[in-house]
Symmetry: D2
Subunit: 332 residues, 4 copies
């Protein structure tokens, strides 16, 4: 019998897509979907294109924890208590929130709020399979990375590991689905359409997550990270401007990435700068690397679909690894 999985918080964009992927997954059974809003509505009424004929239920741990795994798609802060309750009931969890990404509760406290389940931090695995695949097989709690950290870390990991990053500026562009389903002035069509602007300046919360992981890879730097909202639905591009620790020529740079990613199915190396269309509705991260010979700077672009590789399909990729399934099952 296939492992049974609940999606906790399936009314939002990330949770709903996770439900779709698990509903169609050959080796998992989507047991139930819950939500904090829209309880009683069918998901295929809310999101017709996902075609999930299940009703959104109110969370009831007695019923919804009677599964092998859960994907939690709550906002930060709201996630930790639910994750904690699930873990206690021996449900394996992939958490889409920020609550278990930062390894240090104090850093979390500085950027978010007091942590509500700090005792779980040590056991949580950061769910970027291309970096932590070996640790995901045995994991009971996986912190699914943020969308910006996913693209940025995949774009920079080879340089970080090689000790080549002295400094980095990350200029990111994301579609409006990244702002979530809440209807606000910021997500109104008329605000986003024919517009581009930066937000979260100069302290977006994905910054410490990026720095933590870069440091673990070997680049102990403070980064400047600036996201921009662009008028499209799904897609995210990070443009990384790296001041290297020493001169790097194009050939060496290309070789570094070929070596790092030749075996990675979901990473594509491209000669030309990637567009977010190239990865729309996929689990791929498409990367190109360039040397600005006039300044010596290295430029790395990484494109993902923020709802797929940046959230839902990466959650399924993690689940696949946790349950010993082929990594790409249900997301290829």
């Amino acid at each position: 019998m296939p492992p049974r999985v609940c999606v906790i918080g399936a009314a939002g964009f990330g949770g709903a897509l996770t439900a779709r992927l698990l509903h169609a997954h050959p080796s998992f059974e989507l047991a139930a979907i819950t939500a904090r809003s829209d309880v009683g509505r069918r998901l295929d009424d809310l999101y017709p294109h996902h075609r999930v004929p299940l009703v959104l239920e109110e969370l009831d741990l007695d019923r919804h924890a009677d599964v092998e795994a859960a994907v939690v798609a709550y906002p930060h802060g709201a996630a930790a208590p639910v994750v904690s309750a699930l873990v206690e009931r021996e449900v394996r969890v992939v958490d889409l929130s920020a609550d278990f990404r930062l390894r240090d509760a104090a850093v979390y406290g500085e950027w978010y709020r007091d942590h509500l389940a700090p005792e779980l931090l040590d056991g949580a695995v950061y769910g970027l399979p291309e970096l932590y695949r070996h640790m995901l097989a045995g994991a009971d709690l996986v912190a699914n990375p943020g969308c910006y950290p996913t693209a940025t870390l995949l774009a920079l990991a080879p340089l970080a590991r090689a000790g080549l990053i002295a400094d980095v500026v990350i200029d990111a562009k994301s579609g409006a689905s990244g702002a979530g389903r809440a209807a606000t002035e910021k997500t109104h069509f008329v605000t986003v359409d024919e517009n581009v602007s930066a937000y979260g300046v100069p302290r977006h919360r994905h910054t410490p997550e990026i720095e933590q992981e870069l440091a673990l890879l070997g680049a102990d730097v403070r980064v400047t990270f600036t996201p921009h909202l662009v008028p499209l639905d799904q897609g995210e591009l990070v443009s990384c401007y790296v001041t290297p620790t020493r001169e790097v020529d194009p050939e060496e740079l290309g070789q570094l990435y070929d070596d790092a990613y030749a075996e990675e199915h979901f990473i594509e190396l491209a000669a030309r700068p990637p567009g977010v269309r190239d990865v729309r509705e996929s689990n791929f991260c498409r990367i190109s690397v360039h040397v600005d010979e006039r300044t010596g700077r290295l430029i790395v672009f990484g494109a993902i679909d923020n709802l797929w590789k940046g959230a839902a399909s990466q959650a399924v990729q993690n689940l696949n690894l946790m349950f010993g399934l082929p990594e790409g099952e249900g997301i290829s």
Copy 2:
């Protein structure tokens, strides 16, 4: 009698908009419009929303040079000979191409092609009124700045003049009108829609123009400049990441820009990052300045409409100055 002006090359986006602005201008007379394509078509057939009821004519210097001024909107290389012929006939010219922006013919040769009228370079004035207003009154040949340099230089001028720029990364985002009217795979709706990608990596031709002007302002640096195409029509945002020569706090930074731009009608200082919607179809450049206190870096955003302040309305602003008219006439 109002000065008579021709627009040479009015079939493209920049030239057509210039024609519209001059057609409605209270103090100029739009004498004629010419083009290298679409000769014989009325401009209000080609661009109904501009409502210019004139026919595009083939260029005939005997007729079209019988005016006080001309705006030339030809591609680089094609512009120089026409500009040269007009200047010889004592027509005052604003040139929208790159041909007279670089003060050194050798630099032009490196980035574009052999210069076809280098003898005119010395007399050309770089037409960014906020920087060179005093020189524009007497100018007979004005090189209208590129759209990216316009936004970038206005965003960085106060820092450059204060000697505060040690290094700078410029990440720019432009709408598709910036790619011009030519129908290509790059400008096809299906290519641009729901997409973001970088282009001209790592050697976009606006780079030497930005460096030349920054150096004249006091910042002798090599810049990394990377433009991106975003799915909108008109609008351009530059995000400038400056490593300062010394620590700068937010108060000093704000004061620096207030001092520089308090009297500039077409420059708006905003507390929040500007969006390109804020300046659509206007001659304004909207700027915000921020200190990333964690890294010490300064972040400056500048938003313009690439066809207006980045081309046509700036050309009219220059014409106004050249003819002693109120600077904002016809473009406010």
Copy 3:
């Protein structure tokens, strides 16, 4: 001294644009702007591109009725009491809501709600200048038409007057600004982007307004009217499929429209089907007429900017007429 005008309800899209047009108007003075939300915010903070440096005030009739005229931009139902109070204080009013468009309070009651000021209906003039210009000069209360009726009536008036409409289907397409500023699931960028769908099927509230006016013009028909939401900001296209009362050939049809509209500055007759881009940010209505010779049906397209000719600039056009000013002042 120029007449002083208040905009009551300037926080929404239509009211804010009206404020911008009046602020820049050479012959009116924008005395104050009020709102039911965002009181205390500057309008140029809420809508930077309108550049109106006034603060939104709470409505206080003692102060805000001390003007010669007011434009009321409240939702239907909320408008009537305010309009009534203003009229009582001898303020001349242009009302953007539906409250005074239907001449019969019973019809209003059927489609909206009980009418709150039915005694004013007799004196209200339907503010479509191209049809009722002669009545607007003396009007004290003008009901600004709905956006769909504006485009539809201008598209069909010549046929209606000629007694040529036996039946008509109106398929309309509108940008998202037509749905108003309220942030809802319907106006979320992710809902609108890359989407088209019908709404208000089959009983949109603009239907009785269209039928009332067609009947007055000579076409006593029941219409099928179906609006669709398309992924753009401002713009509206109506496609009208008319079954004529007798055969009409293209020449006769063209002549009919030429005769009707030759003198109308804000109506453009085009040979090809108009696009909403052609009229963006303008008071123009662009129309084309076609005969489907295979079926005998007549097809008429009408394009307007729903916020301009469909709301704010038409309100100013009406104000101009009410105060004996040139009809196009401040909106050309």
Copy 4:
């Protein structure tokens, strides 16, 4: 061994998507892809998101006809000779062009050009599986329907079969991919963005195809069909306004469609008007039916993805049926 299939004309949008679907199909082998442009380029260079690692070859019938089946994606007129050559070599063909859709060569001649292979018309099956499933199993030549006819016929078939259509107006809206890959003024981003306009007025070539099929279903009417271009990539909505031959109430109408489509996997009946987002990148047609009780008219909306159900995935659906495979294989 799985049947081998070539895609002839894989450089365009429809052909390229067909190649992607067949490349990933579990029961077909994509043997080769050919094109008339871009020969020598890899398809995953031209269309990265399709991820088909094959090179576009010049058509060579000696090689490319050595397969069990071919999908031909040439423009009308160019298709017929190639289809003819393939059929002669006993290759089973699905043709995406209009060349074999009209059963009468004279009608084809009137709307397109002289037919180049009229002898094949009798044997061609119109490839709308929901209507002609029983004939597709044995077919050697299938004419894949046009995108507009697909949506329209699925929307109207139950009414046509019930003899309920006295008259019908079809107002269609399509994304820009429907205009094909050719870069022209019409497909330039700046033309399409923030725009809506009709085209092909009043004689679009899909009209006779719709009329032919409606007549075969039982509705011998002349239709008014008007397509509009809307600013999105993939998606198509038809809004059908039917004057019925007798009064129909909502219950009867709903029952009629339930009966017709209950067993159809790829047809979804919705209570609310469908949006094209609901069917994006899918083979579904989503339909809603409404009675306009004031006029007695019936309104039927049908939404498809013009490149999927309107072209490529329907071609695969047809291939599946031709080869006795499950109808939804490779397209679900």
